[in-house]
Symmetry: C2
Subunit: 469 residues, 2 copies
């Protein structure tokens, strides 16, 4: 029995019916890599390994009236079959239908009387593929307390060594150390950690309430939270979710990146920003001042492998007021650099602090009653854009190769749109999650992304063909 650490407890306490605190992942699988791939094999694989992730078999014991952080206790009735479910996608089983199904599954809160995760095995996917939808409460995903579902089920090869589970278990039971294989898995599977990282925004939100002010005298520096322009999707978030996704070639992103000497993240911000700019322009709703994105990039992705799960989120002026796409990219590059410098010192674990400092009942009362009205003033930007670096090598689930994994993140109060981007095996997969009452056609956003990249690639080609000045 263990008491939940502050940050994890805070993720539970801030949960409301409109803003459940779980994250999701829609994973497309190619089962042809494993002749015996099946629902039963998936269940068997997870059953074999579940002991490696103790939190997945524990349930919450909440303190009466929410006066203290909850405890985690072993669920005496734990049965992995209560958590792994089968469902089908409607025909023809393409990305649109999968996204619709994932939206339904993601919108539904997890009930707190069992370990807080579900895994949905989805049949009926087109082209003989199948899919998984993973859903787990953010409070389960503590980096030190145990592996998450993604790490538990992902392998670097279709047929991992059979001794994996037992060997790792023995080491763990004795010393709470990880086997070297497990360490390798944990390091490789950034995919599954994506959603957690985007959640660092929770910390950001609270950081703002502490009254930190940005240095607004530097050009391109983010504005004060009170000066973020209003949009139709920065309103109270309701209980429904809509999800849409698009993929582009990493090579195209790199062509643009190399030519303009910017970062992959700058290109990602440019093409998603263009999608949102066009969406608002088409509705005559684009604010005069630039929108502000909130960038959540894993520190590990920047080369510092030792920092674990620490999260950096910084607001970045999105240059949505700049009509020329290339100029917009250049401004974003400049603004992102300024933001990182200006915000370099902002990295306190404030959500954790809040979890330690306040009883859950107060945090939850605050979120239910005041967050929606205060959030616009507290929020440092319009849309959180989380760019997660996956692996260049393929990953496998029960022998089936992962083709794509889109994380579905949490919408915070007044953040009716969230973007997550994963690079994996030569593709950049872009996922949009939104409240469909605030974003009327989320596919319009997703479909604008490849067009925005094509526009930049075209500009590069034009400049390369033009005689050098």
């Amino acid at each position: 029995m263990e008491q939940l650490p502050g940050a994890d407890a805070a993720f539970l306490a801030i949960e409301t019916p409109e803003a459940p605190g779980h994250v999701g992942g829609l994973t497309l699988l190619d089962p042809t890599t494993s002749p015996d791939f099946s629902f039963d094999k998936l269940v068997a694989t997870i059953s074999e390994r579940i002991h490696l992730a103790p939190r997945l078999t524990q349930t919450l014991r909440e303190v009466p009236l929410g006066l203290d952080r909850p405890y985690l206790v072993d669920d005496p009735d734990f049965d992995v079959r209560n958590h792994i479910r089968r469902i089908g996608v409607s025909s023809p089983g393409g990305l649109r239908e999968l996204a619709e199904l994932a939206s339904y599954l993601h919108a539904r809160p997890l009930h707190r009387d069992r370990p807080l995760w579900e895994l949905w095995f989805i049949e009926g996917v087109s082209d003989g593929r199948c899919a998984l939808f993973m859903k787990s409460h953010h409070c389960l995903m503590d980096g030190t307390a145990g592996a998450g579902m993604g790490e538990l089920i992902c392998d670097l090869e279709p047929e991992p060594p059979a001794a994996f589970a037992t060997a790792a278990d023995e080491e763990r039971d004795g010393q709470r150390n990880y086997s070297s294989l497990e360490i390798g898995l944990r390091a490789a599977v950034h995919l599954a950690q994506g959603p957690r990282k985007t959640l660092g925004f929770g910390a950001k939100l609270l950081r703002q309430t502490a009254g930190m002010l940005f240095n607004s005298s530097t050009e391109g520096a983010p504005p004060l939270p009170t000066s973020i322009p209003a949009t139709s999707f920065n309103r109270d978030v309701g209980p429904r979710r809509a999800f849409a996704a698009a993929s582009v070639a990493l090579d195209d992103v790199k062509t643009v990146k190399n030519h303009y000497e910017v970062t992959v993240n700058d290109v990602v911000l440019a093409i998603t920003g263009t999608a949102i700019r066009n969406y608002l322009l088409a509705r005559n709703e684009l604010p005069e001042e630039s929108l502000v994105s909130i960038i959540a990039v894993s520190k590990r992705a920047e080369g510092d492998g030792a920092l674990g799960n620490q999260v950096t989120t910084v607001p970045c002026v999105w240059a949505s007021d700049e009509p020329d796409p290339v100029e917009r990219l250049k401004k974003i590059h400049h603004n992102a650099a300024v933001s990182k410098e200006v915000c370099a010192n902002y990295d306190a674990e404030l959500l954790s602090g809040m979890g330690e400092a306040f009883p859950p009942v107060l945090t939850n009362l605050f979120m239910r009653n005041f967050a929606p009205s205060l959030a616009p003033a507290m929020t440092p930007g319009n849309v959180l854009v989380s760019n997660v670096r996956g692996t260049p090598v393929p990953l496998y689930v029960a022998g089936a190769r992962i083709e794509t994994m889109y994380p579905l993140s949490i919408l915070m109060p007044s953040q009716g749109l969230n973007i997550t981007v994963v690079s994996y095996m030569g593709k950049v997969d872009v996922g949009f999650i939104a409240d469909p009452d605030l974003v009327e056609d989320i596919w319009e956003l997703a479909e604008a992304v490849p067009r925005a990249l094509a526009e930049l690639v075209e500009a590069v080609e034009k400049e390369l063909q033009a005689p050098r000045a």
Copy 2:
């Protein structure tokens, strides 16, 4: 704008996350009766008719702090496509897989910021069939305020007259009268009203709190609510649901009914009671005293067409302490007759009265905090068995013939198991809904029903072959 009547308001107020107040229906369709049957045709059919059921396009305006009954207002953003959804069943798409999917869909509460209904179009059903899962809040199903979803979409022929919707609409708008066709539909479609009727149990529960005592001196009369034997499924009900179903031939039921001069309802009680008796026997949990069923039979089914939706629920001693199946049937016949006589005067609309008398906030506080502990004392029986007479003639949805419709009812506090029975087109379809934490294998119950009937049919055959005394 209209204020919800007391009974409907009470159905909202008693709702908790563990006991949501919606009812469901799993309908199997044969699409071969309509060459152009499709999801789009279903959507078009409902769009055409939705104006006939005003409550399906209205949303709740709750009174602040729950101090008065909510109002119904037109939803300015109403779009039928927000309420009709597509999903697939896992392979092979048989009754087990459909029941599993229906369990998931039924367990999830409806969110209150939109009209309180959903219709799921289910693909992937075996044998080229398809299925629907209908879900609507009980507060929508008022008999006078508008037709329910079932009545709205069911036809007596594959291609109903095209003028149906318009003609009916004009009459309705002018006089609030129904067209004769609509009256025919309303009268025919008992199927869709089944779930509502089972809910009359809410009234029963409150009747008990008013302190009514049963006449316990008559032989076979129901015991005092405080003397109902305890079982493992009469405990606090959690948020999950499991559903299982079985079908038997109406002719077999009638063979038994006619031979022993009992009613169809007596046979239904006997075969479901035998299933539960065997289930508890196998676990060494059968109480010494007889279990008590709660019978909810529509008055209309007894020939009184004018009474509308009035509900009768009476407790009936189930004779589960009688080992011989034929003797059990005879005792049930006797006990049901005694119960109806003893309880003849109990028919006040008490749930309605409670809805009028108490503000929703008090009713809900009561249900959330005290109902689970008080319920065992208030509840007049172990399991509600609702027997709904369907039609002998086929019904159609968007041209596709309805083969089977199983209602999925509400579980009340301490009622972890509920049975609904529908007779339709020569079959008797029996559905069990339960909290899977209280009933470990609901299919064991469903599968015991045809065996229990076969046992009675065999007894009849034996008696017919034996020389008459």
